[in-house]
């Protein structure tokens, strides 16, 4: 067992009375401190059951559950749950209580004093992006779905639990709001560093939210558990491959950034007023049909075709066409690919923080990056197999 496992399931089983086939069969799993572990799988695979075994909303029929090395399989379940934040798809705000009362639920049960609770409520509302003065005394029915789920998250954070369990928390929210809530939640998590187990059936949500992803098959069997990069680069079997579906390579581009392993290439550039023949020569040498025109602050401004540079004509600031697509250093290769697809010269110019030209990303860079990721993942699994 690794030293930083916050939650550990040890051969946990759940067989419902009257059934022979277990819903969860001998599941062993570790969740590391401060990570988001996403449980993802087809419906009916037992991922929600697995989540609910952790806070004993469902009592396991076998195996042990440890939090911080403390065996909690038999401790008082109500007290256990007060230590664990719980967010569900239905949100389940108490409609007869104000937002403040809702958030105060667990702190009150734990006997916090009033001033501390009030302070905590305001803190949490701010954290989830709701103005305390506006929302404190409202009732849940006065909130939209997105606002309600923000309150749901704030309520789960109520007594500052170290562990959060989230069961499709954004599942019932429209796609645009969901995307925003996911981003906000990730930035909140960056500060809070809670240990989170997150259930979803949506592989894209899993890829986005997870530090690690566990892909579950029937009876909650773990088919593959790893970082999203590695799963995308190296699905271990057909089940996982089918589950992550089409476009896994493209999704993998989300995890490669422009500055990390991509060696950027220089590109023929020129400034306004510069001698075009030299520029044409550079372009010929580089084998491109375009020259990138930079302004006096080295910002890429226009794509000028080599054919426009013949005949000794000078280059003005309105030659060629405007540079509409560029990415910053540190952007993902996915963004670079998108810019590349709309770029005149079929390459993505990369700029530094101050906007000055740095280099370009070409398709071959993406190809190399993906192949390297796949190779690394394959080696990783080969090594795992060798050591086991």
């Amino acid at each position: 067992m690794s030293p930083d496992a916050k939650i550990r399931l040890d051969h946990v089983e759940k067989t419902y009375p009257g059934t022979k086939v277990p819903a969860v069969e001998s599941l062993s799993l570790e969740v590391y401190e401060g990570e988001i572990l996403v449980l993802v799988g087809p419906s009916g695979c037992g991922k929600s059951t697995t989540l609910r075994l952790i806070n004993r909303m469902i009592e396991p029929t076998g195996g042990r559950i440890y939090l911080d090395d403390e065996d909690v399989t038999k401790v008082n379940a109500d007290k256990l749950r007060r230590r664990i934040g719980y967010v569900i798809q239905q949100i389940g705000l108490f409609p007869h209580q104000t937002i403040a009362q809702n958030i105060a639920t667990v702190p009150k049960m734990l006997g916090w004093d009033k001033a501390k609770v009030a302070e905590r409520i305001d803190r949490l509302l701010t954290v989830v992006g709701l103005d305390p003065d506006t929302y404190r005394d409202r009732y849940p029915k006065e909130l939209s779905g997105g606002q309600a789920q923000r309150v749901g998250v704030a309520r789960a954070l109520g007594a500052d639990p170290e562990i959060m369990l989230m069961d499709e928390p954004f599942g019932a929210i429209d796609p645009i709001t969901r995307d925003r809530l996911q981003n906000e939640f990730l930035s909140v998590q960056e500060d809070l560093r809670k240990t989170i187990v997150f259930v979803t059936h949506d592989i894209d949500e899993a890829i986005k939210m997870g530090d690690r992803i566990a892909i579950l098959g029937d009876r909650s069997h773990i088919r593959q558990i790893d970082t999203p990069e590695r799963i995308l680069a190296f699905p271990v079997d057909d089940f996982v491959r089918d589950f992550i579906g089409e476009g896994s390579t493209l999704k993998g581009l989300h995890f490669e950034t422009v500055d990390e392993h991509v060696t950027l290439e220089p590109y023929p550039t020129m400034h306004v007023g510069e001698d075009p023949t030299a520029a044409v020569a550079r372009a010929r040498e580089a084998g491109t049909d375009w020259v990138l025109l930079l302004d006096d602050q080295e910002h890429p401004t226009r794509w000028v075709p080599v054919s426009d540079l013949g005949g000794g004509s000078t280059v003005s600031s309105d030659s060629g066409s405007e540079v509409v697509a560029k990415v910053s250093l540190g952007a993902t290769l996915f963004e670079a690919l998108e810019q590349m697809l709309i770029s005149e010269a079929a390459v993505s110019p990369v700029v530094r923080e101050d906007g000055s030209f740095y280099g370009v990303v070409r398709l071959t860079h993406l190809n190399k990056a993906i192949r390297r990721a796949r190779l690394e993942a394959r080696e990783h699994y080969a090594q795992l197999e060798a050591t086991s």
Binding site: R81, G92, P95, V106, M109, D174
Partner: protein, 293 residues
């Protein structure tokens, strides 16, 4: 009127979210894109309900009815021009007033018994170990109400003899169903997600019951109590059959002596009592409904 239909409707009404509070200020919401609850264009009927027109007009109507009865009573010329049988039947201090208090006593105690039995029973029958017996109990209570009230009174007469107690017990059995069923419907109607969230945060079963389920079920349970109360006030007019007194005595005298005046005064008095308590029930339903629901 079919009681079943009426209670079904009341049970439903209790769970319905009427009286919407003003929707949130769209400018303050940080989710500009997701839809805030919007107000539906209301029909005149819904508008009237929103303004609680019924609630405000009912006391006026009841007061007018009372005033009419008072004037009619004065105009009868009791003790002077009226026949002596009428005078004695309608005497306030020895007949009408004692009958009225008796009537209210019967209705009050039978309703109390109903509440004391049906609500805990309804709670028990919606808890896990007893849940599966729920339908059986509701059927039994259904049978209790399906029996003619007259027959029920006679059965209890043979079991317990004459008197006020017998009447109270018989009526309690008769009116058990609406409260029992509404308690169960109200508790079952609480969104499972809300209970799940409560349990998931570490509330005990008892805390979930007292802090979430019961408060949320209050409107439905109150609707049931209101029905039971009105049933009991109506049924208490039959109490005289087994020596339980009540305003039924005056009505029966009016029928026997073929004195329409007596009949009219007696039945109007019962109507005023029933309407008044129904109004009290409606007010209670409105103001005891948890805020935010």
């Amino acid at each position: 009127m079919s009681m079943t239909g009426a209670q079904g409707r009341i049970g439903y009404e209790g769970q319905e979210k009427d009286n919407p509070e003003p929707p949130p200020d769209p400018n303050t919401g940080s989710d500009a894109t997701d839809a805030a609850p919007t107000e539906q264009p209301a029909s005149w009927f819904l508008r009237a309900r929103e303004m609680n027109l019924g609630l405000k007009l009912a006391p006026v109507a009841i007061a007018l009815l009372g005033l009419g009865l008072f004037l009619y009573y004065r105009s009868l010329g009791l003790g002077t021009t009226a026949p002596s049988s009428q005078t004695s039947a309608l005497e306030w201090s020895t007949k009408l007033w004692p009958q009225l208090t008796q009537h209210l006593t019967i209705a009050f105690w039978s309703t109390i018994i109903v509440v004391v039995i049906a609500i805990p029973l309804g709670i028990a029958l919606t808890r896990e170990p007893l849940r599966r017996y729920g339908p059986a109990f509701v059927s039994t209570a259904n049978a209790g109400q399906a029996l003619p009230a007259y027959g029920l009174l006679i059965i209890f007469l043979t079991l317990m003899g004459q008197g006020l107690t017998t009447v109270v017990v018989a009526l309690a059995v008769y009116a058990l169903l609406p409260v029992l069923r509404n308690t169960m419907v109200g508790l079952d109607g609480v969104d499972r997600g809300i209970i799940e969230a409560g349990r998931g945060m570490g509330m005990t079963r008892g805390q979930v019951l007292t802090r979430i389920e019961l408060p949320l079920a209050v409107p439905v349970i109150l609707a049931g109590i209101r029905v039971a109360m009105i049933l009991n006030i109506g049924m208490a007019t039959l109490a005289f059959l087994i020596g339980g007194g009540g305003l039924g005595v005056t009505i029966s005298v009016g029928l026997k002596l073929q004195q329409n005046e007596v009949l009219l005064v007696g039945s109007t008095l019962v109507a005023i009592v029933a309407l008044s308590f129904d109004w009290v029930g409606a007010v209670a339903e409105k103001y005891l409904r948890p805020r935010g629901v």
